[in-house]
């Protein structure tokens, strides 16, 4: 029986004495942890700065642009995304193991984490609020096409919508289809076309001007 074991792991902490306003609660917690010597406040600034300025969807866009431009890199990316992405300097937390999945004229990939909010940080940064929302998490696996329509995308019936539910430490990066009319663009110009949503599967790349 899965009865009343694991009591020690049930939820049993009383949070009623902490401030209801999350800003005050976090401030009080940070203050306590700093004064106890558990946290260096400068380190918090470093972490925030990293995701505000260094790690974000521009990283993923460079990966995609390179894959669009370089057939060998594309093949490597699809075979071993972790290594191919690390070769560009993107690696680490919440992207230790990455799989790249490519959209084609037959398959449209999209990524979700129904159980929490798994997301490939080194290439996309921190996830947007909608990715972490109850609506997205609950609906994408069941009605991906309806969700796509809310993002302005209507796919042909004959396209396979391939949803990836991120249940392990593998992280999924969607390689969107290269827009037509981009033959003359270099990697940097191509990267400008690659949106964050196109690498989650809820958007398409921008069209060139």
């Amino acid at each position: 029986m899965t009865d009343d074991t694991h009591h020690s792991h049930k939820h049993e902490h009383d949070h009623s004495h902490v401030p209801p306003d999350p800003a005050l609660r976090v401030q009080a917690l940070e203050s306590l942890l700093v004064r106890k010597g558990l946290v260096n406040p400068e380190t918090l600034n470093t972490i925030i700065d990293t995701y505000a300025n260094d790690v974000g969807p521009r990283n993923g866009a460079r990966v995609v642009a390179k894959a669009w431009s370089d057939p060998d890199y594309r093949a490597w990316l699809l075979r071993d995304a972790t290594a191919a992405i690390a070769s560009l300097g993107y690696e680490g937390r919440q992207g230790e193991h990455i799989v790249a999945v490519e959209n084609t004229d037959k398959v449209h990939n999209m990524v979700v984490c129904t159980l929490c909010s798994c997301y490939p940080w080194p290439v996309l940064g921190l996830p947007p609020a909608w990715y972490k929302s109850e609506a997205y998490r609950s609906r994408v696996v069941r009605e991906p096409r309806a969700v796509l329509r809310e993002f302005g995308i209507t796919l042909p019936e004959e396209t396979e919508v391939r949803v990836w539910d991120s249940t392990s430490e593998m992280r999924y990066l969607v390689v969107p289809r290269r827009p037509e009319g981009t033959e003359g663009l270099n990697e940097s110009e191509l990267a400008d076309l690659v949106t964050r949503d196109s690498m989650i599967g809820t958007g398409q790349p921008r069209q060139p001007d």
């Binding site: 939820h11 004495h17 800003a23 976090v26 790690v55 690696e91 230790e96 159980l115 249940t167």
Partner: protein, 219 residues
């Protein structure tokens, strides 16, 4: 656990809240909550699976009443209490009693940069050969453990096909409750949408999940 966090397939949550030009954080405290959660992991008193489990154990009503980073702070607080890094009294009074474990210094900025870059790979070497390979038909087990698991309810007892072998990885079920990494082979398993959701689903669509070997039976 069959908690409120396991929401794949639920109705009733409305449209996806898409926000144009969304800021990275909606308030300063969200940034601090993120960074506190990341930095406190450096004390190595828990692991990523235990952190997920701590968020799942937030009671359903409170889970839905909390924003994303409120859940993080709630779970972080629980984990620090359980690990003895802080006490209920310190939390109540705001006054620290004593210092860090073994008098160690907290992580400095360089250490944080290194930690973020290193991450926490979950891949492990195991002696056992993989039981399945791409192309194999498998059925997921129908289990409802009270502890952490990464097989969502919507995919239990379903027929699928192995599409990728990811090597062996730490098993979240045991790792989350500090019963060891017990690494197992991990596979991407693809399910027809109709297998999961019945005949109203598109005949072409699929859902792929990463599932550990012990979640699977040969068909």
């Amino acid at each position: 656990m069959n908690g409120i966090h396991d929401m794949g397939g639920m109705h009733g949550f409305g449209p996806v809240p898409i926000e144009e030009n969304e800021p990275l954080f909606h308030a300063d405290w969200e940034a601090r909550a993120m960074a506190l959660t990341v930095v406190m992991a450096s004390w190595k008193r828990w692991n990523i699976d235990a952190s997920r489990y701590a968020r799942e154990r937030i009671p359903p009503r409170e889970y839905l009443n909390s924003t994303y980073y409120e859940r993080w702070i709630h779970a972080l607080t629980d984990q620090m209490l359980e690990a003895g890094l802080i006490t209920e009294q310190e939390l109540r009074t705001g006054e620290p009693v004593g210092g860090p474990p073994n008098g160690k210094a907290p992580l400095d900025p360089d250490g944080a940069r290194a930690m973020l870059r290193r991450g926490g790979p979950s891949r492990r070497q195991v002696d056992a050969p993989p039981r399945f390979r791409p192309g194999d038909a498998v059925r997921t087990g129908n289990r409802h453990p009270e502890h952490h698991t990464r097989l969502p309810r919507y995919a239990r007892g379903k027929l699928g096909e192995v599409v990728l072998h990811h090597g062996a990885h730490v098993l979240p079920d045991t790792n989350a409750i500090f019963q060891g990494e017990q690494p197992e082979h991990l596979y991407a398993v693809r399910f027809a949408a109709r297998e999961l959701w019945g005949p109203d689903a598109s005949p072409r669509d699929t859902v792929t999940l990463d599932l550990w070997e012990s979640y699977l039976e040969a068909r």
